[in-house]
Point group: C2
Chain length 514, copies 2
């Protein structure tokens, strides 16, 4: 697809330096920046606008399954954490701890006031199972109170030494759903329903093909009985875990005393679940849809789906061009795409149209429309689709179309962009999955130092546990590989286990990951 | 208005114990509860649903004035805080400080790992001027970048010793707008525009009459040049500061180096502003509209504006009643009120209709509709308006109306409830403001120990400053009074100053406050 006639909008290509390209997209699409505060980013309007879209659509989907939003405290007393032993083990190494509640002036500066030490340190929530568990134990009395389906949108903190914007930051934003059920079956059913919400959101809204499946034992959420994930393949072939759903069994319920009186009058422990999706998804969107000209935002997520750029010359005719553009804007805003009004921006800031065009290309607005005096006279518009940016001759592929044809066809053009982004990503993903690697030597060769974008390998295994699994994990680790997940609803493979030669019981995806 | 025939839904009346009544409403309307974490509350679905409505409507209004949402870090390095001296002075005593980033296991428990001490302590944001100022200094180069209009929705922490749900909690949720401008005039104009957004939101959406005005010098936000507020009168006559807008001058710009190159090429300091409204508004709503039967939510804020309660008997006919209710629900959901679809809930949970009715009365749903088999047969509905709950004879004032009349009249009924709540609050507020108190002795008598609901007093003053103001503030403090604000756009009073006898320059409201 490379064409030497094209002068791309970014200086760095994905091919040359994928990590550098990622940072360039974040910066040049004006999505986020370093804050000066270790591990924390500033999310700028275009990045936050995409997050607001994620929130709106995902929130509707979560509410549609009966969840109600709540808000729980930012701080969790240390003692709450100590209750669920496995959970603590998994998180203990990376939490921000509040120890004091006052500063004081000293020597012209400010210091922590040693007299204001807290009796009990407070942990800044890395996730809220423990504190929500305490609430559930108050709220649930009898089987009539079940299922209890809550959700919260919040910031959480997991101390990170090496950070990367959106993908791994000490503070991040997310949604965390928490539920309690009467039985294992109902809890597991809900766990899988949440996983399906994520799969559908990733594929249908973010245009990001994913594998929904169960994580192996060693990759479970601390304290969980089963962890499920959706896994997306980035353009460098690495996996991104893009959302997780956990069946927590009765362990958290026991720790927090979440019991209900069943229909026979018995006190019984609840089965709980949790599931979360975060600002990390924005990193996944960049690495799924970005190209050498910047970001490409799927229409269903774009804060502005169509950007209209008037060609202003700081001359008399400008007012007419602006009025014509405003007319087009209003007509577009009356159209519906994806069962919502079309989101259209008339960018009438001063500045050259060409420069503004490339700004919006880098930001990834799905459709850019340019309007000059001549277009106005002819009732035409110059339309550029972000998913089909270039002509063969290296020029931007503008289509000059009749105004009304564009207006009334805008919704279907947006739908076409949405599906073309999905199809492009799905095709690439499928092309980068190998099904035919049968030995560890072949695997090592496939993932050798010189291999470019080796993608994932799908293998059959016997689902070892405990020490046997640990041995497999260590062996894969020598190739920097991890087990991603076991895809849902697949037949038992008719192959021996890749590792042990025993009968395989299921398939797993193996790859490098973020 | 008291009627001995009525058996109210709460045990505590406003008259008997206003503070106890407030807590009873919060608990019995199921809005929030203590979390077990010092100073932090759990906001439950009905309380959070109201907050989501506040967010949605206020966010639209803020965006309509050109603001874009961003997200800034939760943690602010101590050194950022030390830069703006007055600002620090105002906040230094009440901040949560993160000093460590790891826990470790010890003696079977968890402790803060002393090896993981941060080089520089991090303050959990009490407000974000300092960290946003740093970002503005990066983002602003020239006059073309101005005005810069940002906003963020976030949690903030101000350590509090005595807390009260929604009104004063260590952690609370809010919106904070931050702007930078080229000139004092533009910054001040924006400060007043933000104040007007709050006034309009309070009065038109929350049905809460307010006085918009300027705070006296001693009540300014730390570091601000001018602080404006909206002040609402609660049913006990006390004032609640319900939203503030600050003109910050160039002090924060100087501390964070927010400069722009003006049209002549000169480097010039920006003038900055900030404004915030928080979950405290929910406390204000309770104390403005609540009554002895619980909360009354203004229709524009109600998560459910109409709740339909089927009278189920666990008999055969139930399915028909439910189907009829669902038909009514769908027809109502197709109506628009306040230019949005009507929000209607069919509460089909098991349980007695009467008990569910009183749950929704306590929660303050604006309209409750009950439907039994006979109503269904006659195409009737039993309709209860929350703002006109009781008949003279002490029975709930149900109106039996034709189904279609109700459906097509629902929007105007909701509008009528919205304005009746506003009018009731405005009338009470106006009746509790005295304009005729001219001496400190009369003021002391009006606010004597035995005075019941003394409300506010409006007086003229000469706007003393510095020590002279301090003397006035101390004098008022002896009566537990504070100056609320100077109302906007009033003529200079033709009276002497209440305190000094000099010529007055403006009026002020004086009262007790939350």
């Amino acid at each position: 697809m490379s064409n030497s006639k094209i002068r791309h909008a970014l200086d760095i290509t994905r091919e040359a330096d994928f990590a550098g390209w990622y940072q360039a997209v974040v910066a040049q699409a004006d999505m986020a920046e370093e804050s000066g505060v270790r591990g924390c980013m500033v999310i700028k309007p275009w990045g936050y606008g995409i997050w607001e879209r994620i929130q709106r659509v995902l929130d509707d989907a979560i509410k549609a399954t009966g969840h109600q939003n709540c808000y729980f405290p930012l701080f969790i007393p240390l003692s709450y954490f100590a209750k669920e032993a496995e959970h603590v083990e998994g998180f203990a190494k990376e939490m921000a701890v509040v120890t004091h509640h006052r500063l004081k002036a000293e020597d012209g500066g400010l210091v922590v006031d040693p007299d204001a030490k807290l009796e009990e340190p407070l942990v800044v929530r890395p996730t809220s199972e423990t504190v929500i568990g305490q609430a559930m134990s108050r709220w649930i009395q009898s089987w009539r109170d079940l299922p209890l389906l809550t959700n919260q949108w919040a910031n959480v903190v997991r101390w990170e030494m090496r950070t990367r914007m959106f993908l791994r930051t000490s503070e991040f934003l997310w949604q965390e759903g928490h539920t309690a059920h009467a039985t294992r079956e109902e809890a597991m059913e809900h766990t899988l329903q949440s996983l399906e919400i994520y799969r559908s959101f990733a594929e249908d809204v973010m245009a990001m093909p994913v594998i929904a499946g169960e994580k192996p034992e060693n990759e479970r959420f601390p304290g969980a009985v089963s962890t499920f994930s959706i896994e997306a393949m980035m353009q460098d072939g690495k996996a991104l875990q893009a959302g997780t759903s956990h069946y927590l069994g009765t362990g958290f319920a026991k720790a927090a005393n979440i019991q209900y009186q069943d229909k026979e009058g018995q006190q019984t422990l609840c089965h709980t679940t949790s599931f979360g999706m975060s600002t990390r998804m924005i990193g996944g969107m960049i690495m799924t849809h970005g190209d050498d000209d910047g970001l490409r935002v799927p229409p269903r997520l774009a804060p502005h789906q169509i950007v209209i750029l008037p060609m202003l010359r700081e001359k008399e005719g400008d007012a007419e061009v602006l009025a014509y553009c405003e007319h087009v804007r209003m007509a577009l805003a009356e159209q519906d795409a994806f069962r919502e009004p079309v989101r259209v921006l008339l960018d009438s800031r001063p500045g050259k149209a060409a420069q503004k065009r490339w700004d919006w290309v880098r930001k990834g607005a799905p459709i850019i429309v340019e309007v000059g005096p001549r277009d106005m006279e002819n009732s035409k518009l110059a339309v550029l689709r972000r998913d089909r940016l270039w002509r063969e001759d290296g020029k931007p592929d503008f289509d000059f179309v009749d105004r009304d044809d564009f207006i009334f066809g805008a919704a279907s053009m947006l739908e076409s962009i949405q599906s073309s982004l999905y199809e492009e990503a799905r095709k690439r993903r499928d092309e980068n999955i190998r099904h035919d690697i049968e030995t560890f030597e072949a695997l090592a060769e496939h993932f050798s130092e010189t291999a470019k974008k080796p993608g994932w390998v799908k293998i059959a295994w016997s689902r070892p546990s405990g020490d046997a699994l640990e041995a497999v994990v260590e062996k894969l680790k020598s190739l920097k590989l991890t087990i991603r997940n076991t895809p849902m609803d697949e037949d038992k493979p008719e192959k021996p286990c890749f590792f042990t030669g025993e009968d395989a019981v299921e398939t797993i995806y193996v790859g490098r990951s973020y």
